[in-house]
Symmetry: C2
Subunit: 325 residues, 2 copies
Amino acid sequence: MNPHTATPRILDGIAIAAGIKAEVAHQVRQLGPQGITPGLAVILVGDVPASQIYVRSKVKTCGELGIYSEMITPPETITTEEMLDLIAKLNAREDIDGILIQLPLPAHVDTRRLLEAVAPEKDVDGFHPINAGRLLAEGYSGATTSRSGKLALAPCTPAGIMEILRRSDIPIAGKNAVVIGRSDIVGKPAASMLLNASATVTVCHSRTHNLARFTREADILVAAIGRSGFVTPDMIKPGATLIDVGINRITDQSQVDEFFPGDEARAALFAKRGSTVVGDIHPAAFALSGAYTPVPGGVGALTIAMLMQNTVTAARSRRSTLDRA
Amino acid sequence: MNPHTATPRILDGIAIAAGIKAEVAHQVRQLGPQGITPGLAVILVGDVPASQIYVRSKVKTCGELGIYSEMITPPETITTEEMLDLIAKLNAREDIDGILIQLPLPAHVDTRRLLEAVAPEKDVDGFHPINAGRLLAEGYSGATTSRSGKLALAPCTPAGIMEILRRSDIPIAGKNAVVIGRSDIVGKPAASMLLNASATVTVCHSRTHNLARFTREADILVAAIGRSGFVTPDMIKPGATLIDVGINRITDQSQVDEFFPGDEARAALFAKRGSTVVGDIHPAAFALSGAYTPVPGGVGALTIAMLMQNTVTAARSRRSTLDRA
C-alpha cells in the first residue's frame, strides 16, 4: 500500500482523552477504600479571561473523575513573597497532591521562582527543573514511578503526545522524530520523551536553516510553534505521523478559504462564530500523512486528561500506594 | 577556499584547558582577600585503580590552582545509608563548595540516590537532575548564574565541548549539530547546551537507522559512543567541526596500522607503551574536517579544568560573590 495515496488515519484526541479519564476515574475509585481522595489545588491570579476558562474546565473535570479540587484566587496585586507563602502551605498539606499555578502570572511576580517552589512530587504541570531533568534522564513511563523510584511528572501537553502515539500503536523506537519548537513546556520535554523512547530526535526552531530538509525526513513530526498552517505539504514525508500542537485562532474569511477550501462544516462554523482554529500544520499536509492529530480535537484534547492522570499518579506515589519496582 | 582541501584546524584541548585553569587560578586569587578558599571534596570508594588515578589528578590540579581539596576514601563495604550520611555532612560544611562522587560505585550502593543527595549548589559534576533540568531550560553560560538566578552546574565533559567551540570561535547558532550517543553524562547535556546555543540538534544513538544520513549533514559532529574509529570518512561532511569524546585504548598492532597508517610518532609511542588511544572518529575523517579535537589532547583535556571552574563557580555563587543580573 502506498502511504501517499492511502487515506490518513485521524488520531482522535477526544476519544483517547475519554479513555484516559475513564482510567483515572477507576484509579480514583480504587483509592477510596484506602481513605485517599486525590486533591488538586489550582492557583489563579487576577482576572485573565482565558485563564479563568481553562481553570474552570480543569476544576469541572476533577469533579467528574472524583478528584477533590480547590481553586485559590489571589488578587492581581499579590507579591512573590505572598505567593511563596501560599505555595509553602499547599506543599505542606496532606490532602493536596497536585499544585497547579495557572500561567501567565502578572509581570511583577517571579514566575520561575514560584514554579521552583512547588514541591516536585506535587508538580502536576511538570514544570519544576528537577522533573525536567528526570524526564530527560528517564523518559516518560506513564502512570508509574521512574527508574530512581522517584516520580518524574511530565508536562501535560507532551505527555499527551506520547499517549496518542502509544495508544495508536505508532512505532517510535528507531524512527526519525522531528520537533519544531524548543519551548520548556512542549518542544524540549517532547524531545526528551521521544529520545528516551528510542527515536532519533531532531529539534528545530526559529534559528534552523532550511527547515524543510529536516521535516521532510520525519517519520513523526511534532509542530509546536504557534503559527497558523506553517508546515505546508511540501515540507512533509508522505505517510508520516503528524502531531499538531498549535491552536491558532483565525478570524479572517480569507484564512478560512486558504486553510479549509471546500470544507463546508468548517465554513458553517466560522459563519456562526466568526472564528475557527487552525493548527501549525496546514490541513493540506494532513492529506499526505499516514496519521495526524486534527485541530481541534487532537493534542489539545489530552491536556486536561493528562493533568488528571498526573494528579492521581502524584497521589498514589506520594501516599505510597504504587508498587515500587 | 574549498574546505575539502584546506588543512583542518586542530582544536588543542590542552592549550584551551591551560587557559581555563589560568582563569580559575585568577578567580581563586581574587577570592582570597574575601577570606574565601574554594573547597572540593572527592569521595573515592574502594580500590578501583583507574578511579584512583583520576582522583589523584583532580586533587593535584586543585593544589596547583589554590583550591582546597579533601579526599574521602570509604571502604568498598560502605552502605548507601552511610554514604548518605557522609554526603549530608559535606552538604552542611561551609568550607566545602563542591562534592564529587567518583564513579563507578560498588554495585550494592544506590548510585542514583546518592547523586540526588548531593546539594545541587555543590554538584560540581552536574549530575543532579535539577541541574540537568536547568541546563535543558537555560543552557550553558560558563561561569555565571542562570536566568533564574540559580546556578546551573553543567557536567564537565560537555561543558568542555562548549568551551572548545566558543574559544575557537566556531559558530553554533543556526548550525546543524549532530550528537552521537545519549548518555546522561555527555550526549544529553551536550544536546541541551547546543540547542540552547541555537543549533539545530539531532541526537543519534544505537537505535538510529542509517546513521550516516544524519552525520553527513552535521556542521558540528559530537561523537560520544566509546567505539574505536566508529565515524568513518564517508560519514562526515567535508569541512565540518568534529568533536571526539571517545578515548578508546587499543593494544593490537593491526589496529594501530588501521587507524594510524604512516604515523611514525604514534607507532613509536605504541612500540614503547604497548598501547595507544583512538577516539570514536576515525583519524582519516579528521583529514576532511574543517576543525577537529585530537585524541588524546582534545575534549578529554578539558574535563578537569571544567571541574575546577565549576568548583570556583559554586564557591562564588554559594558565597554570594557573583554579580546577580
